[in-house]
């Protein structure tokens, strides 16, 4: 008979990713577990490393803006506007008030879209599929608005160097107000759900607690920091765009656990709806862009923006030509990731996906047609055609 050894010192390494059902982005995690309890955690990034910082060195500023927009499909506006703002600072010009207000409006619309997206994904991690489906359904409201004002659902391309490319018409303004009214109602409902649903609270209350001291040591940013009581929000600390005219109330919580991260984000949704309403109602009149020279004199600058996930920083250096010398970005996930791997230690393996999703990790951070060699379909489907296809398919089953 083989001997069953009770080797307590034996630990297992559980690799997760890069292809994994939980997160939609690639990252490779390794958890060393003793039984069910995590002892060590490590991450390998770089699955989404596309060498963007190198690419932008041989593009001009306008081209670089479109590349930076594709750093991340969830918070594309913050990256593109960071480059636009940086280039404006380097050239010594300022975007006109209306452009700054429109940028602010899109920041907040994007924050609503990103937080709702996160709420759904995090609920999915907790096995709360109904909340996933509801929040993603409501997210479509904001996607419709973004599409209406910019023409695209994901990469809005709102920015231009020296201002913005789009204007908010009176009709769009009405639609935006209608949408945020609806979303405010829904956000109140979600706040109620994440702070009172018993099953959900068992997965979030007291899990992954981070004290303010720990948070400061790891340099965490964004809602994760604010949920631990660290008062850090670039919109308040160093107002950019039009945040000096439309001030933000900082949302913080003191518990520092997953529940606090949920409530902080959902309360930020409410704050964002208030801001959107205020900006739309008080949109300053005037020009959309100022003229910026194509060649930008040699200088360097640092741009800080509060992305939905936290503080985003870009360092930019120009060299007197129309191409940047160096652009370096620091996305909010990097410091948060360092802290969160630390947090998983001592927790059950089953909690790890929730804790990871709790920081809203983003590893990467206008075409409408399908063209295929097929005769049977038109290149672009309308909503009705799509609906009809579903019905036909259902009836056509044999």
């Amino acid at each position: 008979m083989a001997e069953i050894s009770s080797d307590n010192g034996r630990k297992f390494t559980i690799p997760i990713g890069p292809q994994h059902p939980a997160l939609k982005e690639p990252g490779h995690f390794e958890f060393v577990v003793d039984g069910e309890v995590i002892q060590e955690a490590s991450v390998k990034l770089g699955y989404a490393h596309r060498g963007i910082e190198k690419i932008v060195e041989d593009r001009n500023y306008t081209q670089a803006m479109y590349i930076l927009e594709r750093v991340c499909g969830i918070c594309s506006h913050v990256h593109a506007s960071a480059l636009a703002m940086g280039a404006e600072q380097l050239a010594g010009v300022e975007a006109p008030p209306r452009a700054r207000a429109i940028r602010t409006l899109v920041y907040e619309l994007e924050r609503i879209h990103s937080h709702l997206l996160w709420l759904g994904v995090a609920a999915h991690e907790a096995g709360f599929e109904a909340l996933f489906m509801y929040s993603w359904r409501d997210r479509e409201t904001i996607m419709d608005i973004l599409e209406e004002i910019s023409g695209s659902r994901v990469h809005y391309s709102v920015n231009a160097i020296g201002g913005v490319r789009i204007d908010i018409s009176a009709e769009s303004a009405q639609n935006i107000l209608k949408a945020v009214d609806f979303l405010e109602e829904r956000s109140k409902h979600y706040l109620n759900v994440v702070s009172s649903d018993r099953v959900f609270l068992q997965r979030s209350r007291g899990i992954g607690v981070m004290s303010p001291e720990e948070g400061n040591r790891w340099g965490v940013v964004g809602p994760v920091a604010r949920a631990s009581g660290i008062k850090r929000d670039v919109r308040v600390d160093a107002p950019y765009a039009a945040y000096d005219i439309f001030p933000v109330t900082m949302i913080t919580a003191s518990e520092g656990d997953l529940e606090a991260r949920f409530t902080v984000r959902v309360r930020e949704l409410l704050e964002s709806t208030r801001l959107v309403r205020e900006v739309v109602k008080n949109l300053p009149e005037g020009e959309l862009t100022t003229k910026v020279k194509r060649k930008i004199p040699p200088a360097e600058t640092v741009v800080r923006i509060e992305a939905p996930r936290g503080e985003l920083m870009y360092y930019m250096k120009s060299n007197g030509t129309d191409q940047p010398e160096r652009i370096h970005g620091r996305t909010p996930t990097i410091p948060n990731m360092a802290s969160v791997l630390h947090l998983t230690i001592g927790h059950q393996l089953a909690d790890a996906p929730m804790i990871l999703a709790g920081i809203d990790p983003c590893f990467s951070c206008n075409d409408r047609a399908v063209v295929l060699k097929s005769q049977s379909h038109s290149d672009l489907w309308s909503w009705d055609q799509l609906r009809q296809y579903g019905i036909d398919r259902y009836h056509g089953r044999t």
Partner: protein, 180 residues
């Protein structure tokens, strides 16, 4: 091109900057760093660049982080080019509404800097990036493995250096070769 020449002419005029007082938090950081710095430049009221010598780096970091004045946002390496033969490493600290940047300069052919992980534990990610992208050796940093570059990436090739020729190091699939 005549148009280009005109543009450069106009931009040189704009370079003249007036000196304005720094905001209080950044001013405080400037005072703390004064004894360590070799030169200080301000850009606007919120941005301050402080050059320090290599062996003063840890002290300068401690001066900002230890006193609770600010936190490390990021570390940016800049390749000044083959002719200059220098790397710049910039440590950005968020100080209230402003950003204080500590600048160190190291020779390109012997790029070695000390780690600041003692003072700021989360610096490890930025230091790993320095090592793999620029080949800057960060002594005594806790983790020396690669963070972003693929495992099969050859040793000794650093993609973010200015003299790196993209795609010189690996084979593309047959069907994609004509694109290079």
């Amino acid at each position: 091109m005549p148009e280009d020449a005109k543009n450069t002419e106009e931009t040189t005029e704009e370079l003249v900057e007036e000196t304005v007082a720094l905001i209080p938090q950044v001013e405080a950081a400037r005072e703390v760093l004064e004894p360590l710095s070799t030169s200080t430049t301000a850009s606007g009221t919120k941005l301050l660049y402080v050059a320090v010598s290599l062996d003063q780096l840890n002290e300068a970091t401690e001066a900002i982080v230890g006193s609770g004045l600010g936190y490390l946002i990021s570390i940016t390496p800049v390749d000044l080019g083959v002719e200059e033969n220098q790397f710049e490493v910039l440590y950005h600290f968020g100080v209230g509404p402003g950003v204080v940047t500590i600048r160190i300069t190291i020779p390109r052919d012997e790029p070695v800097i000390p780690s600041v992980c003692e003072q700021v534990p989360s610096a490890t990610y930025y230091e790993r990036e320095l090592m793999e992208m620029f080949g800057i050796d960060v002594t005594d940093t806790p983790n020396r493995t690669r963070l972003y570059l693929p495992d099969q990436w050859p040793q000794g090739i650093y993609p973010m250096r200015k003299d790196y020729v993209p795609r010189s190091e690996r084979q593309l699939p047959e069907s994609k070769k004509d694109k290079v």
